[in-house]
Subunit: 144 residues, 2 copies
DNA sequence: AGCGGTTGTGATAATGGTTCTCATTATCGG
DNA sequence: CCGATAATGAGAACCATTATCACAACCGCT
């Protein structure tokens, strides 16, 4: 399924669905795992060579705002983004250090925040959690 | 206690202990909570106006390498560092969103990693955790 | 279809943090 | 003190990101 400019409600939530944004959304959908803004710009330009860098940055910002994309870390100074497949649900990410695959993970912290608060005296209002490891494919394929 | 150039073993682990590095280490010790490289450079220059930015960056990199400093996040595009008071012990950080104070916290994840692994099929090999909240002082002083 | 207001676009300049360059200087073991 | 070499400082270079600005596309309205 490919994004369409005709949709009244789209990945951007509000805002106009322009041809460039369709291109960018399509490119993002075809990305496997995480990507930088530059990766996305390169991919988008394969469909429409006229798409400007600034447009990609703006589109990514808008897509992140709408929750369709999520910032999942960084790689050598560039922000990494990925499709968010977990919707509004509070979650974090499992990043495979072998193949780069990114999966959402239920927040493992809610159960232990109280313990941390008691131990530290802090009132915890938010947190970042990123788990690194090997995805099932890389575990079975790479072990041994 | 102030760093001394005479010590054979110092914050840098290996490498030469120069006057500039002493200045930088002293400045870092006098910082409360987290600071950017620029903050540190400004502070160091209050003692020795000739300390260059590049030197501070290099010193911070070396101090991070030796474990004496730790990268604890970022603020508006600049990396944040803080003295590591937890030594080699595996830990994370509690960052007060009100005063910026940073405290080490025991890792709350070890107990639940197994659950995540079972649920996801990933083999978790590492993780980043940062907790944001209000430190005891800001809770009692800022509430009500 | 025409209009006006708004939003998005693209090229490019600007910004800002960080790293690199390189000649010079300081440190350290002997 | 000496030689080897790591460290320094000034500024340029670098890179990701953001701002600027003139122009085009889109929307609702008539």
């Amino acid at each position: 399924m490919v994004a369409s400019a005709q949709e009244g409600s789209h990945a951007f939530g509000s805002g106009r669905m322009t041809a460039q944004r369709v291109t960018i959304v399509d490119a993002a959908e075809q990305m496997g795992g995480a990507f930088t803004v530059d990766d996305l710009a390169v991919a988008a330009r394969r469909c429409d060579a006229t798409v400007g860098v600034a447009t990609v940055y703006r589109a990514v910002a808008a897509l992140e705002e709408s929750g369709w994309l999520e910032r999942v870390g960084e790689r050598s100074g560039s922000a990494l983004f990925a499709r968010c497949s977990a919707g509004d649900h509070h979650h974090h990410h499992l990043i495979c250090t072998s193949c780069g695959r990114i999966e959402p993970a239920d927040c493992p912290l809610t159960a232990v925040v109280g313990t941390v608060e008691t131990a530290s005296g802090f009132v915890v209002t938010g947190h970042d959690v990123t788990l690194y490891g090997l995805c099932p494919d890389c575990v079975t394929g790479g072990e041994g």
